[in-house]
Symmetry: C2
Subunit: 222 residues, 2 copies
Amino acid sequence: MAQQERAKRTRQVILEAAGIVFDECGYEAATISQILARADVTRGALYFHFSSKEDLARGVLDMAVTTEGVLPQQFKLQELADTSLLLAHRMPREPLLRAALRLSVDQRARRMFGTKWPEWITVGAGLLAEAKARGELLAHVDPYETSRFLVGAWTGVQLVAEAVPQDDSLVHEVSLMYQMLLPNIAVPAVLARLDVAPDRPLRLCEAAARPEKGGDAGTTGN
Amino acid sequence: MAQQERAKRTRQVILEAAGIVFDECGYEAATISQILARADVTRGALYFHFSSKEDLARGVLDMAVTTEGVLPQQFKLQELADTSLLLAHRMPREPLLRAALRLSVDQRARRMFGTKWPEWITVGAGLLAEAKARGELLAHVDPYETSRFLVGAWTGVQLVAEAVPQDDSLVHEVSLMYQMLLPNIAVPAVLARLDVAPDRPLRLCEAAARPEKGGDAGTTGN
């Protein structure tokens, strides 16, 4: 492994350890020593990549705006839903994403680092603007306002799911959210061809793992 | 003023002071001394009503599930929207409500005290069940799932509005949320008669202050 590759990997290991510790203890209570123990790296290695706990928090937040696993689709609205569904699928599996959310809802951490919500709103508004240009949206839909609402709703649904657990997973709840919202966003001909089923992210992950079949995750619109 | 009435008022003054301090500093950093200074009451008076900071936090949370200002309406869906809109109207004005929300999103405080989200979900699901029985809802609407989503979405919209401020007030954003959701909840004949305009809570407050006119806040459905 080249030295640069090794350094990149160490950085990732440290960030993931920081994510686990921030997620479990919250930013205030977390210590560099806990993160070191979790990452199993030397203090020197950690300080080579990150100058402080603040710097680690910024690193964790920077990892949070991710469209990993989202594949090009016939409809931009499908890509938007896929982005939300995949995040819901990954959140319970990835402490780093949970830590970033926790840093955003923690008022004190938020004052120090801000949140990634503006970036998320921009991602969603961009997809919605493209969807609008392609005629996928009902006439009244405002890309920015709708994206802002989706980011807020997604965040709150995640918080309530965590605090008031039920049998269904987060991805079920985000699926339900899209079922409730899309009829007032998409034109009917597009609506009928969108797939926001709870198992959609799993199918996307499987499709991504089968390069020979490309991006087809069984969407009727593909 | 009767002694009982005075005690009740002191309790309220202390809770409001606790709300201000929790809202400003967060639960962890807040101290009884700060709350005493803010309430301008003796330590004895505070400990007569509340045994500890934990007890104060529970008192603050207990005040948070409030339908104050919601008046009987022709449609139960209107009462549901009024509940959300009034809370959005009151939140920026009442530190106690903000503190309760902050205690709910703070993971550490949440582990200690739980949240009031289950109670809010029950309030909404009750109104939606009544609305369903009266034929106000589209056939597919599940009162519990819809209420759970509304509570999550409201909470997240508030968080994003606080973190990423824009010119419009929180009540504008909650109004927009209902505009986006109601077409997929209400039957058209009811939808056309609902009022979720951003100035609705202000009109409700004015109507409540004019007892001779009763609960009429200019709803077309009244």
